[in-house]
Structure formats: structure tokens, C-alpha cells
Amino acid sequence: MKQPLVLVLAAVVLLPLVVRHAIATEIWIFAIFGLGLNLLLGYTGLLSFGQATFFGSAAYVAGYLLKYYGIGIFTALGVGIGVGALSALVVGYLCVQRAGLYFIMLTFALNQLFYFIAYQWTSVTGGEDGMPGIPRPALLGIDFRQPLAYYVLVSALFLLSLWAMQRIVESPLGKILQAIRENEVRAEALGYNVPRFKLLAFVIGGAFSGFAGVLYAMLFGIVPLEAIGFVFSGNVVFATLIGGSGSLYGPIIGSLVFIWLSESVSVLWARWPLLLGVAFVIVVLFFRGGVVEAWSRIWRFSKRAS
């Protein structure tokens, strides 16, 4: 239990020495986004292809308030959590009524709906050009425009998110969500209002997404239209599956692999998504538990060999 946490802490310290600060920051932001998705995907067994809805909505609303009303960092993050949770409440309410493929398609369709609102509403969102000019307000005399200062803030908030998610998955709620994943009919018969619990998972996941969305907007100083697009929703699913949806740490590893590949290798080779595709095929065919499972298998194998 302690070992993965030590590895995460080590990664937080070492990462800015290895990659550019902006990439390192983006990795932990995407990891927060993945943590929220994995409560749905890994723990509740719900594949949501619409997480960017909450990520993007929060980024737009908080970005707008940061830009025109000069709110502080923590107010912006609070707004992000609120908008993420609220949009997830609306979307989730409509989606949890359906199961299986219909559920997935609904999350996707509603994501498209939000996307086209952002696309059309150019006076606020900037449409295709995105919403630029989002500041990173200073706090307690610390200038977060310094890349390292912002990295420290984001990684601290990431560790806080990880801690919060760990508490949630180890709480009765975590167990109930897993029970729903394992056997929905029995969970209902035991006395759990299954749609209500799925909705709760949605809202919590949406809050994490919104939190990540605001950090993302402040990182790049812009909310690009892609931040609310379905490709972005797909990316977080992709990253989480590569990392391993069966574990709390899976989305973190997935985010490391995905963002590092997309930001570093893409510079060297424009066809980099091919690598990602190959990695994904390998995961689906041989390591359904993602990198986490691959690692534990190698670990066991090496112990047996020695």
C-alpha cells in the first residue's frame, strides 16, 4: 500500500528535472482528470465517453471569471469543482437511466451537445479560437506565473486529490460502487438505490474533472475548444486503460505515459499516435489491467526467478 505512494512522491520530485515544467504540470493535471474518470470506469464499471463535458465547462466558466472578474486561484478552483459537479449532475441524471451501449452513447452525445454550444457561442468561448488571456493570479505573494511555482502548486493539489480519492474508494461508497460493478441486481436487492449511487459517482468524477479543467486553463492561459471535445474525453479513457483501470494508481501511470508521449515524441515524430495505438492493442490483448498489471506480473516473475 505504501510502496506506490512513495513512487508517486518520487515522481513528483523528479519529473521537473526530466521534462519541461509545463509538461510535468500537465501530467499531474491529466492525472487528476483520470482519477475522476476511474471512479466511474474502474470502480463503478461505467464507461463515460463524455468527461470533457465537465472538464471543459469548468475551464470556460472559471476562465471567464478569472479573465473578466479577477477572481483568486482558490475561488477559481472552487468554481471549477462546482461547475464540474453540476454539469455532471445534469449529464449523469440523463445517462444513468440507461445501461450498456446506450449509456456510453448518451455520454458521448451530450458531450457533443456541449461541444457545439461552446463552438457556436463565440462571444463568450471564442469558438474555434478558444478563450485566451486567462491569468494565473498570485497568492500570498507567490507569483504563479513562474513555471516551477505553478508546478509545485499543481503537484500539491494532485497529491491532495489522490488522497481524497483514496479516502473515497476505501469508504463504504467505494465498496458500494464496486458492488454495483460486480452485480447490479444484487446491489439493488440489498437496499442500494443503484441509479442514485451511479449519479453520485458521476458528480464526484465531474468535480475532479472540473478541478483539473481549471488548472489546465491556468497552465496554458487559454481554454482551447478541444478541451470540451470528444477526442479529449477519449484520451482520458485511453490513458486510464493503458495505466490500468483496476487500480487507484492506474490513471496516474496512464497520464504519465500518455502526456509524455504526446508532448515529447510528437515533436520528433508526427505519427506518434501510432505508438499509442500499438500500446493500446498490447494492453487490450495481453494486459487487461494495464501497466499496473504488467508491472505486478513482471515483479512476480522476477521474484520467482531469483
Binding site: R167, I168, E170, S171, P172, L173, G174, K175, I176, Q178, A179, E182, N183, V185, R186, A187, E188, A189, L190, G191, Y192, N193, V194
Partner: protein
């Protein structure tokens, strides 16, 4: 007064009437069995009583209260727990976690739902262990449900129903698919539960039914055709014709 009562309860699936105007009264503290050939509508009746299906007509009363149309998760909170004919557990969970979620569902308070550690609910954990102990699985509490034998899964199925500390226990063929040795153990278990709970039992094995039941209702093509003590049922000519067929003649 009956603890659980069905009045003119019916359920149709299209042209098929699976349960047809059934009247049933379960007295508190008794073990009431429901027998009948395959397809007689016994499991459908259970699904109606526990809210899995909404009835097409008729009413269900629990403790004098009309619970017709109440959803399954609410009925569980009123104190009706069921086991399933086909094993219906949480395969990737340990045995203890299987009963823990059942015990938590009907525990008095869900305070700390989002942040308290599951181990810190001492009362729930104790109740969960008690249920495993009652069915004789406490030694295997850390094993995964998918890795134990079929017989043990049937015992776990029962433990999950017990863990909710219900007022009425509906058992749907607890001995389904068990070996003679396992069946004997299951019968002893049901007998031990008798008196502690009000039990409604669906079972095919006649020797079990006759030895444990206080009352028996016989279903045939969706209708109740007889009700009485085991001795009365054995003597009933209509039951012999419908259910026991030529064998008992």
C-alpha cells in the same frame, strides 16, 4: 396478523400469466414453503414480493403496510431479504466484503459514507462476521467469492441475505445443485434459522419441505391450488394429481 400478505396478486408477461390471483399469508415466526413444478411461478412470486417486478394486479402488504409497487431497494430497508435460485454474489469480493455490503445496506446510519474507512464501522463488521459464522464460512472470510466451491457459494448466498438482519427471509431453492452431503448441511442450516426468522422457502426436494415446513402452499400454473400443514398437503388428492403425479400414487 400476517407479517407478509399477498392479495389477489397477479403478474402477466404478454399473454402468459406467470402468477394468477395469488392469496398468501405468512404468519410471523413460521417457516412457510412454496412448492410446485418447474414454471409454476414460484420465483416470479418472489420477484413480486421483493419488488424486482411490479405486479400487474393485486396488492402486497408487509406488517399491515401496503408495499405494492415499492422498489426493490426500499423493500430491502423494510426488512425483506432474499436469496437467489441462481447464485448471485459479488465474485471479485472476499466473502467478508460480500456480507459487509449487505450488512451496511440496512445499517442504521450511513454517516461517513464518503470518507470513513470501512473497518471503522465496528457494528456492521460484527454483523457481517456473524452472518458468515451462521453459515459456517467464517474460516474462509478472506477468500474470493469466485474461488470457493459451488456448495460454499450457496452458503454465501444465504449469508448475504442473513447479513441484512431481515424480518422476513425469502429463500429461493437454497439447495439447488447441491450434493446429498451439502444438501444435508443446508437443511440443518435452514432448520437452525427457523424460529429466529420468518422464512418463506421455495424448494423442489420434497423430503426437505416435509421435514422443515410449518405450512406449505402449492403452486400450479401460476395459481395456488392448496395450502396446509405438511400432513394435509401429503393427503391432498389435488396436489397429488398436479404435483406428485403418478409417482406418489
Amino acid at each position: 396478523m400476517a407479517l407478509l400478505e399477498a392479495r389477489e396478486l397477479s403478474k402477466s408477461f404478454g399473454a402468459l400469466t406467470a402468477v394468477n390471483a395469488v392469496n398468501l399469508r405468512i404468519e410471523p415466526g413460521t417457516l412457510h414453503s412454496i412448492i410446485g413444478p418447474n414454471g409454476a411461478g414460484k420465483t416470479t412470486l418472489f420477484n413480486l414480493l421483493t419488488g424486482q417486478f411490479a405486479p400487474s394486479a393485486g396488492r402486497i402488504l408487509f406488517d399491515g403496510r401496503d408495499i405494492t409497487g415499492t422498489r426493490a431497494h426500499r423493500i430491502a430497508h423494510l426488512g425483506l431479504a432474499r436469496s437467489f435460485q441462481r447464485t448471485n454474489v459479488f465474485p471479485a469480493f472476499t466473502l467478508l466484503d460480500n456480507v459487509w455490503v449487505a450488512a451496511f445496506a440496512c445499517s442504521r446510519s450511513w454517516r461517513g459514507l464518503l470518507w470513513r474507512r470501512t473497518e471503522s464501522y465496528a457494528g456492521v463488521s460484527a454483523q457481517a462476521r456473524q452472518a458468515l459464522n451462521d453459515v459456517g464460512l467464517i474460516a474462509k472470510q478472506s477468500e474470493l467469492a469466485r474461488e470457493i466451491s459451488h456448495g460454499e457459494q450457496r452458503q454465501l448466498e444465504l449469508a448475504i441475505a442473513l447479513a441484512a438482519a431481515p424480518r422476513v427471509l425469502l429463500l429461493d431453492e437454497p439447495a439447488a445443485g447441491l450434493s446429498p452431503e451439502e444438501t444435508r448441511r443446508m437443511v440443518a442450516l435452514v432448520r437452525a434459522l427457523k424460529g429466529r426468522y420468518t422464512i418463506v422457502l421455495i424448494e423442489h426436494k420434497m423430503d426437505i419441505i416435509m421435514s422443515v415446513s410449518d405450512r406449505i402452499s402449492v403452486m400450479h400454473f401460476g395459481s395456488l391450488i392448496a395450502e396446509g400443514t405438511p400432513a394435509e398437503i401429503q393427503r391432498n388428492p389435488e396436489v397429488r394429481r398436479a404435483y406428485l403425479g403418478g409417482m406418489a400414487a
